[in-house]
Every structure is written in C-alpha cells, then in structure tokens.
C-alpha cells in the first residue's frame, strides 16, 4: 500500500492530490511504526507528517499554485542514479542481520544498557523518553535548535513584505560612513 501511494505520488501532477497522498503516506508509515513497536515515533510521524507538514504544504500551495508541468526532459539520469543507489543499498542489506532477530548486535551493547539500567539511573518507564531527554539529551537539544533554526530561516524568508531590491538606498546612505 505504501508502495502504491509512493508510485501514485510520482504520477499525479495535481499538487493538492500529491500533498494529500503524502499525508496518507505518512499516516500509513505511522501505522507501520506502531507495528514495529515504535509508538513514540508513530505518534510523532502522525502529528508531523500527516498533520503539520500537510498544513504547511497546503499553505504553500495556496501561495504558490498547485499544478505541476509535465516533466520535460527524459528522466534517464535520475533513473540511473536511483537504480544504482537502490542496488547499493540492497547489496548492503545482504550482510545485514535478519529483520527482528534479537541477537543482532544492534540490540546489545548500548541498547542493553538503556533497557536494563534506566529504571535505576533515571526511573521512568518510557525508555524512549529516558534516552531522548537524558542519555542522548544533547541530541534533543540539537533537535530543538534545528527547529528554532527553521523558524529563524522561515522568518528571514517570509517576514515582512517584498524586500526592496537594488542599491538605491545605499548611495544615499553613503555620506554617513567611511
């Protein structure tokens, strides 16, 4: 189903439909996350992917129009790049430990510590929160900063009306400095 949504995204040229589909795609993936025990992630993906980003896309579309032109050039090169990248990834997964195998190295080492020690060291049952806010709290601070940076970026770009262009103001203001 995800695949179908993805392919539909590729084909459809009405951007409203695309955005809606992308939202659905996010919701579906959120479902998948829940299946894979990542409830926090699912929650967030639903809120962000299906919620916020859809709203943002719609707002942007309202400002920027919603029809996509037919792709002009032959998409051969992108296809090649994608096939190579995908093939490389598949090749890489060959030696990856099987899906869901509890003996994978990924589940040990650091992860063991989180699951076994966090009740004593931090004392909250949601290990994800414990890792998020404490063990890797610094990453989360970075994440907060990223969000903040995005806000600064959007403010820089969209705050105020259309900027005055050219250098009319500068020559006039030149007398003051130097």
């Amino acid at each position: 189903m995800l695949g179908a949504a993805g392919l539909a995204l590729l084909r459809i040229r009405n951007l409203f439909a695309v955005v809606m589909l992308a939202g659905i795609y996010s919701l579906l993936s959120a479902g998948l996350f829940t299946v894979m025990d990542a409830v926090d992630v699912a929650f967030t993906e639903a809120a962000v992917g299906a919620g916020i980003s859809t709203v943002l896309f719609l707002a942007a579309l309202a400002l920027a129009g919603h029809h996509e032109n037919k792709p002009g050039h032959t998409p051969l090169l992108p296809m090649l790049v994608v096939v190579i990248t995908g093939a490389a990834l598949v090749y890489g997964t060959m030696d990856m430990p099987g899906f869901g195998d509890p003996d994978n190295p990924v589940h040990h080492h650091v992860a063991d510590h989180y699951l076994e020690e966090s009740p004593h060291e931090i004392g909250i049952p949601n290990v994800v929160t414990a890792v998020l806010a404490s063990y890797r709290g610094y990453d989360t601070m970075g994440e907060t900063t990223v969000v903040f940076a995005a806000a600064v970026g959007v403010m820089l770009l969209l705050a105020g009306g259309v900027r005055s262009r050219g250098r009319a103001g500068r020559q006039a203001g030149e007398e003051g400095d130097g």
Binding site: L9, L10, M36, G86
Partner: protein
C-alpha cells in the same frame, strides 16, 4: 539467494524500494514543491529503515511494564524493542519537518520572484537575465 535471506530481509527491501521512489521524485521532478514531497517520502522511508533495525520479533514497545522502582527482574523476561533507533528517528523527523518548512518558505519566495515553480522555467528566466547583463 536463499529463502531464508529473503524472509529475513524482505522488509528492508520494501523499505529500500520506497526510499528510491522518494529519491526518484526528488531528483527527477522539476516542480519545486514536488521535489520537497519527494524529499519527505525519501526521509520517511529512511526512518522506516531505522525502525526496522530496532524491531525485535515478539518484542514490545520499550515502555517498561514493571514498577520502575521494583526489582526490575522482569526486564529479562519481557523482550523490548530497541529504543535507540526510535530516539534517533524522533530527532530525524523533527529535522525533516524543519527542512521542509524552510524549503517551502523558499519555494514561496521563488514563486513570488519568478512567477513559477518549475525548474525549467526558472532556468530559462535566469538564462535570459544573464544574457541581458
């Protein structure tokens, strides 16, 4: 290719397929908004890859069932999925939406400046400006 390998890895491969669909949209489409959609799909699929890594068959979400102040003996008996990929992906999702919002803001500004969101048309306008200089 053994059946075993297929069974244990098909999940990854599906994810990779989705990833590549997103990547393809991103690099082949000329519409700037669609590019951003592609980027979103691409990233969401990468998240799935991560979450797949963290999944343990038969495991439960990493929310400890016992009283945290108890002995914690039960931890050994209940199989929890790996929490670390979840944390990483939480961060990544946030980063993704941040990128999306900046990208959309740029797209809006480009639309205002050029009157179009199609890469070809923008390139044409730019070529004209350059020739005029």
């Amino acid at each position: 290719m053994s059946v075993d390998l297929f069974v244990s890895h098909y999940n990854y491969w599906v994810v990779i397929f989705l990833m590549m669909v997103g990547f393809y949209i991103l690099i082949s489409r000329g519409n700037l908004i669609k590019k951003i959609v592609g980027l979103n799909v691409f990233q969401t699929s990468v998240f799935m890859l991560y979450i797949s890594m963290g999944k343990i068959t038969g495991g439960t979400p990493p929310i400890l069932l016992d009283d945290p102040h108890g002995e914690g003996e039960a931890v050994g008996h209940v199989l929890y999925s790996n929490p670390l990929p979840h944390v990483l992906i939480l961060t990544a999702i946030v980063v993704g939406i941040a990128t999306t919002s900046v990208g959309l803001a740029l797209a809006v500004r480009i639309k205002e400046a050029y009157g179009t969101l199609e890469e070809d048309e923008i390139n044409r306008v730019e070529a004209q400006t350059e020739a005029a200089e």
